[in-house]
């Protein structure tokens, strides 16, 4: 019973993680497909800014 519950919990965790892993691979492919280095860097600069803003809001409030 205990191991079955544990297995269900692990499956639940994997189901939640799968979109993140899928998103990581998809983001890598989409981010590089047919783009020059300059275009990749321009996109990354915008993404870093969003990560900074999100992190700052979560850590210190708006």
């Amino acid at each position: 019973m205990g191991s079955a519950a544990g297995a269900i919990m692990i499956l639940g965790d994997l189901a939640q993680l799968e979109p993140v892993a899928f998103g990581l691979v998809k983001a890598l492919i989409d981010g590089l497909k047919g783009k020059s280095d300059a275009e990749v860097l321009a996109g990354d600069a915008a993404d870093w800014a969003m990560i900074v803003q999100q992190a700052h809001t979560q850590a210190h409030g708006a």
């Binding site: 939640q16 993680l17 993140v20 870093w48 850590a59």
Partner: protein, 143 residues
């Protein structure tokens, strides 16, 4: 004959030295992969927080560290955009590596929920793997 010899020497030199454009492109790929890994880490951490598996206090500490990493990431991207030398770019990668270690030590390892800790540790190891070999393909003077 002399011209053929010079072309041969030039070709061998380029092969041995490595292609500068290749090293720059490799650095861009590493930067992009690292940025994607940090973005995924942040999404995963938010999910764990929203599910109630990470406390508000743990969440704030982790996101403050993510902000430091992202600011270091911005500096790396700007260095690549502005045509900085491979030495400078390598230093920026080094700062990212240090910030990532700080995130692990002061944020992730302090998470009480073991499953959440494991999930986020995996994400950090992925990001560390991306940074691990950077110094090998970015020797001084490669661009």
């Amino acid at each position: 004959m002399k011209k053929a010899f010079l072309i041969f020497v030039l070709a061998v030199s380029l092969t041995q030295a490595g292609c500068p454009k290749g090293a720059y492109h490799d650095a861009v790929i590493a930067e992009h992969s690292f940025k994607t890994a940090v973005g995924s880490f942040q999404k995963a951490e938010l999910i764990e927080f929203q599910m109630g598996r990470i406390s508000p206090e743990e969440h704030k500490v982790i996101e403050a560290q993510v902000e430091k990493i992202a600011l270091a990431g911005q500096a790396l991207t700007q260095a690549l955009q502005s045509g900085a030398t491979s030495t400078t770019v390598n230093e920026r990668f080094g700062l990212l590596s240090q910030a990532l270690s700080d995130l692990l030590k002061s944020g992730v390892l302090g998470i009480k929920n073991e499953n959440s800790k494991m999930v986020l540790q995996v994400a950090i190891v992925t990001a560390q793997d991306i940074l691990q070999n950077v110094s090998q393909f970015l020797p001084a003077g490669s661009f």
